[in-house]
């Protein structure tokens, strides 16, 4: 397939006597000719919310239609695609015959015409939308399978339990980027879907911005060369993976996604990879401490393609030493991403406390977040925080809650709290 994944490990392998936990940042970078690799059978399903609320104001549905058309225009010739309209049920808007159709000038035009005829009416049951998409992807197992899901509201017409059941069933079958338009949707709900389906979640507060956003989401999806890449972790006997978290470009906890794939070996899904992308993962392994002076392979990290081929490999080591000058050294990559995870947590805790009316806790948490964003140079998040609190001193995290905060500002901060600032490698 021509995709090479270079694996780099950043860690302090020196541990004090008796220490059992090894932390490392694993950077995976796709390289080589992959940037130009065009998968034969990429598949794309665009899911547009057409519930009644999309008609209020009418400009929201109009913007969603324009965005869908922009996404359709971005599809490369030969990509198998469909457009789905979602309400309390789901139906295929195009192609009429069901299934997927190969993109070409004629099918793209027909799809856009069908989209223009959409009307807003009915409820919201996202699980059913995803189930329909999953059925459409059937038979396209080879290439990247991707969906865009757009909604403006809450998942009112099915229970959280029903959504969970669907997510469990479709996870690993395709990836899905979620977009919320306006401010009436639930950040936690879309995040759950995006995390389960290894995609992103973002807010498009102003419907006018939707077309550009869809175009870029579809373009990124078109850039994927290989689907179903797994991170394979070997750990020694008596050892275990404490956590595996994607930490860049965004936070995504993969710890619970382990599938055993051999003795002392487990696979974690990472979705599809494009030719020119790089991601960072935080890995923490618990090992049986060995003697001072001993050297141990704490984990062998492999990137494994869909057919089991190893695309790249790295090593996480542990060396026990009495030399505290070595063992107390803090690895800057690990420290940076530990800070970014703490930043995201502080924002979420702060916003929750704010909603609950706990001013003291909200001020403390959001102040902590301001300080962490400042210290790590995460200016994007710092700006979003400034929409919710008045910052007196970013260095100490001295802030005051704003009396009036626009819903869009708060939701944007919440949604993007998991977007990390990438570490500058030393």
């Amino acid at each position: 397939m021509g995709l090479d994944l270079a694996v780099e490990v950043f860690q302090n392998e020196y541990l004090p006597r008796g220490a059992a936990e090894v932390d490392a940042i694993v950077t995976v970078t796709a390289t080589g000719a992959a940037a130009r690799v065009v998968p034969a059978d990429a598949a794309e399903v665009i899911i547009v919310d057409t519930s009644g609320s999309m008609g209020f104001p009418a400009s929201k549905l109009a913007a969603a239609k324009r965005a869908t058309e922009a996404a359709v225009d971005t599809l490369r010739d030969g990509v198998w695609f469909a457009v789905v309209a979602g309400t309390d049920s789901a139906r295929v808007v195009y192609p009429r015959a069901g299934g997927l159709v190969a993109a070409d000038p004629r099918t793209r035009l027909a799809a856009k015409q069908a989209v223009r005829r959409l009307r807003a009416d009915g409820g919201t049951a996202m699980g059913r939308w995803l189930e329909l998409a999953d059925g459409l992807f059937d038979g396209y197992a080879g290439g990247p399978r991707h969906a865009i899901l757009l909604t403006d509201g809450e998942n009112q017409h099915e229970s959280p339990h029903e959504l969970s059941r669907v997510l469990e069933a479709v996870a690993g079958r395709f990836t899905c980027d979620c977009r919320g338009v306006g401010t009436d949707w639930q950040v936690a709900e879309l995040r759950r879907i995006a995390e389960a389906l290894l995609g992103t979640v973002d807010i498009v507060a102003d419907p006018e911005g939707l077309a550009d956003d869809f175009r870029s989401v579809a373009a990124t999806a078109m850039g994927k060369a290989v689907a179903d890449v797994s991170l394979r972790l070997w750990t020694p006997e008596g050892a275990g993976v404490v956590l595996l978290k994607q930490v860049s470009p965004g936070l995504l906890d993969l710890t619970g996604r382990r599938v055993e794939s051999g003795p002392r070996t487990g696979d974690y899904p990472t979705g599809a990879w494009g030719g020119a992308e790089s991601r960072d993962y935080h890995l923490r392994v618990r090992v049986r401490p060995a003697d001072v002076g001993d050297r141990m392979l704490a984990s062998r990290v492999s990137l494994v393609g869909p057919s089991g081929d190893v695309l790249g490999q790295g090593r996480v080591l542990a060396v026990w030493t009495e030399d505290s000058a070595l063992s107390t050294r803090i690895n800057r990559e690990v420290a940076h991403y530990t800070g970014q995870a703490e930043l995201a947590e502080a924002i979420r805790d702060g916003l929750e406390a704010r909603k609950a009316g706990d001013v003291g806790r909200a001020t403390a948490k959001l102040g902590r977040a301001v300080r962490l964003a400042h210290e790590s140079g995460n200016t994007d998040t710092a700006k979003l925080l400034a929409g919710v609190v008045d910052v007196e001193d970013p260095g100490t995290g001295t802030v005051k809650l704003r009396a009036r905060v626009a819903d869009a500002d708060e939701m944007t901060l919440d949604t993007r709290s998991t977007v990390t600032k990438r570490v500058r490698k030393g």
Binding site: E237, G293, D294, R295, M296
Partner: protein, 322 residues
């Protein structure tokens, strides 16, 4: 009737070579290159599979090096070298041999940890020195002159390992040797590896350390006790290597009149038993040299094993250090 140590064929006591396999019967010596690349087949956990980088597929630990624990035994002389409990590598080396009818030669070198490829330095030094000493023993050369030749040759060999662009970390090591003939023994040394003599009457240290601290003691600036705890205690004033400038060892020759043991060791042992009386107290009696060496290494390991430990024990006049 004796037998060939190589192929076990019967040989006569006057034979110089084995009729069956051609082995030189006059000289018996430890393998050149040390334990070399003979990897232990198994990890400490019992695992037998290792990945391409030498990590155990079961417990993840790096494959143990053959150098981690080395034991060599020849008639009347034996040695044990151990990585200890703190260091990642064993940078000590030892080599010894015997020439039938002439005597025994033994060398211990301790690679300087702050230099690069220290284990290569010490191995190169003991191999080179053992060659010179055993060849000289066969031709009956003067033991002191022989010891100086051995040090000069070893120093040159170690110096050749240096990279011109990294002179400040040129591979380096200490040196202590003994040449034992029928009636005398000659000890030579550079650095802080030591030789002790243990006899019925008691024990004595035969070497004086080439360290800054020892020099200060000699000049009366420090007492022995102060020197042991001084941070300069182990800073060498002489060593072998490209940057050493060493031309000759210090030597001492003495008559061997009574049975006893000669103990060569690296500082991994003597740090725990510095005084001859300390050594005497822990030294087992009435056992063969290999048992003495094992026990002394064990003493150092039990006391913490902070450094590599190497002990070579030579029997004098059939003595057991009783």
């Amino acid at each position: 009737m004796e037998s060939c140590p190589e192929c076990a064929s019967p040989v006569a006591s006057q034979d110089r070579f084995c009729e069956a396999c051609g082995r030189n019967l006059r000289v018996q010596r430890t393998p050149v290159g040390g334990p070399g690349a003979q990897w232990p087949p198994m990890c400490a956990c019992g695992g037998e599979e290792f990945d391409a980088d030498g990590f155990c597929e079961q417990c993840g630990r790096a494959r143990p090096s053959a150098r981690d624990r080395v034991e060599f035994v020849l008639p009347g002389v034996a040695g044990v070298s151990d990585r200890g409990k703190r260091r990642q590598r064993n940078e000590d080396s030892m080599a010894f041999g015997r020439v039938r009818g002439r005597g025994v030669a033994a060398v211990v070198c301790d690679g300087v940890a702050s230099s690069e490829r220290a284990e290569q330095a010490s191995q190169q030094a003991v191999d080179t020195a053992a060659d010179v000493l055993l060849t000289g023993l066969q031709s009956g050369m003067d033991a002191e002159a022989l010891t100086t030749d051995a040090v000069v040759a070893a120093n040159e060999a170690v110096s050749r390992l240096a990279r011109p662009e990294a002179a400040e970390v040129a591979p380096s090591c200490t040196f202590v040797s003994v040449v034992v003939t029928d009636d005398s023994a000659t000890v030579g040394w550079v650095g802080d590896s030591r030789a002790y003599l243990v006899a019925e009457a008691g024990a004595a240290r035969l070497t004086t350390d080439d360290t800054w601290a020892a020099q200060l003691v000699a000049e009366g600036v420090l007492t022995e006790e102060e020197a042991l705890t001084d941070r300069r205690a182990h800073v060498l004033s002489r060593w072998l290597g490209a940057d050493s400038g060493v031309e000759a060892p210090q030597t001492v020759t003495f008559k061997v009149q009574t049975p006893g043991l000669l103990v060569l060791c690296s500082d991994g042992l003597w740090n725990y038993v510095p005084e001859p009386e300390d050594l005497l107290e822990v030294l087992p009696r009435g056992v063969p040299p290999i048992e003495v060496a094992r026990e002394l290494v064990e003493v150092a390991l039990k006391a913490g094993g902070h450094d590599n430990i190497t002990v070579v024990v030579v029997q004098l006049r059939g003595g057991h250090g009783a």
